[in-house]
Symmetry: C2
Subunit: 297 residues, 2 copies
């Protein structure tokens, strides 16, 4: 029997020795020409992704494809996202599909089966979900997750400037995102693993360590997906502020870096294969190492 | 030069003589067998959709494919949604893609080009967008809409029970959804048509006519997309409560019905083609007529 999603994620973080989650953002003009013309040909993206996953598999536990950047290629891109998600799983990684879906009833069920359901779904391990439509928009994802030992990752507090517009609005003296956290709390138990962590994940792009601690207090068993590290400017120390101190260091989530591991400066468009491999390995090891140190400090 | 999206929508409502928007929800088990086995074969969905559009084109101005119910078929379903969207446009309808996308930066731009952008995008006329991530998650859709005379439809108040969980939370004595409406107000002018209506649409699934009137007061020029009519239980009179009284009746949006026009009782799975056509025409004319009467009352 497949282990609970949360347990598989925790195990993968241990294996990699770091909570690094590599965000796979397709920027066609930054994909090295040695893989082909990514602006015109989705196969160049597939070659690039395959080569990247080969290097990332041993160095990071989680692969996070950004679905919107695949959809810019139409149905071919949609197909390619599923192919790379499966390649990452074959390489031993957890596939956390960043799709930010949100709908109700049968449509939400359609999205749930399309993302974390078996073929023709992507069969990803977890999917990001938008909470604006309320509990009944999350329930269909919960059902598919429960039936397939998968996870659901709810956007609670995102890391972009616009998070202030609605998420930070004050409701009874607390920001709205704390209500979002309250709303998902009843779902936590249903995806609980033997590790004591739940596969009901939350996006915690909290701006200040005090906010991350507040979210942790509301959801002590939820694994966090922390964006905003690397190119977006947050430090490794800030990124793990919402993690829980354990006997073996801070734990309780993963930290995502995308552009800074996929497109480091030395991996420029005209790079040769061996130089590209060296640049990617260096970027992966730098980020994994920084996060490992932050968890152990 | 292509007319502004808002003007094209208003013109289409006039042509159809009703604000009916047909939601295209793929329920495989309810698609008549005469089109094939829709549970196993996306081509049955395409045949069903093509036959439906032929009947809907002259009777409704707007076609709203529900993308999540196509994605349950994987990349083939994603492709089929684009094919039917284009068929509806060829039949003279506005294609309003119900995708409920929401993301930031380059990913939001990817979703915008994928939905309302030219090929390989769907080239739909308008797309539904989730506001939880704030203004910077809507801006990329605005840019693609401005450049292509398209529309953007923001979820403000949805019609599901879960809308109470976050959208109805009180912020300074007003429900959060009024903050969402305030947030999109600055975008209205950028998609203004010569008709005086803006292609910055909003989903108004208000439970009470007084709420619809409140949303109309905040956004007097925004076209409304009103869900919850037909199978979901709302009356035609309630549905147009947020429309504006004009010399020629109430105007200012479209009202969506899905199951009740696609799968009326007489269009059961074993129906014959001519009976199916009769049942669909009757359902379309019933709904269009009820809404026409409500607008004229």
């Amino acid at each position: 029997m497949t282990a609970a999603f949360a347990d598989r994620l925790v195990e993968n973080v241990k294996r990699a020795g770091s909570p690094l989650c590599v965000g796979f953002d397709v920027f066609p003009e930054r994909i090295p020409k040695l893989f082909g013309d990514a602006k015109a040909d989705i196969r160049a993206v597939l070659r690039f992704g395959e080569a990247f996953i080969e290097l990332a598999g041993p160095r990071a536990g989680v692969f996070k494809p950004q679905l919107g950047l695949f959809e810019q290629y139409g149905a071919d891109g949609y197909l390619a996202a599923g192919v790379l998600s499966e390649m990452a799983q074959t390489a031993g990684m957890i596939s956390l599909l960043d799709a930010k879906r949100g709908d109700i009833g049968t449509t939400a069920d359609g999205y749930a089966r399309a993302t974390i359901g078996a073929a023709p779904g992507f069969n990803a391990d977890c999917v990001t979900v938008n909470p604006y439509l309320g509990r009944d928009s999350i329930e269909p994802f919960m059902k598919v997750a429960e039936a397939n030992a998968k996870g659901v990752c709810v956007l609670v507090r995102t890391s972009n400037p616009g998070a202030r517009d609605l998420q930070d609005q004050q409701v009874n003296g607390e920001p709205l995102w704390t209500r979002t956290a309250d709303m998902v709390l009843p779902f936590v138990e249903r995806l609980m693993g033997e590790s004591g962590w739940s596969g009901l994940m939350v996006v915690c792009g909290a701006t200040y360590p005090a906010e991350a601690a507040k979210l942790r207090a509301i959801l002590p068993r939820s694994l966090f997906l922390v964006p905003g590290y690397g190119a977006q400017g947050g430090t490794a120390q800030d990124a793990v502020a919402g993690f829980t101190r354990t006997g073996t260091g801070r734990a309780g989530g993963v930290v995502s870096a995308s552009r800074s591991v996929l497109y480091p400066e030395a991996a420029h468009p005209d790079v040769a294969l061996e130089d590209w491999r060296g640049a990617i390995i260096a970027a992966l090891e730098k980020h994994a190492g920084e996060l490992r140190a932050a968890c152990n400090s």
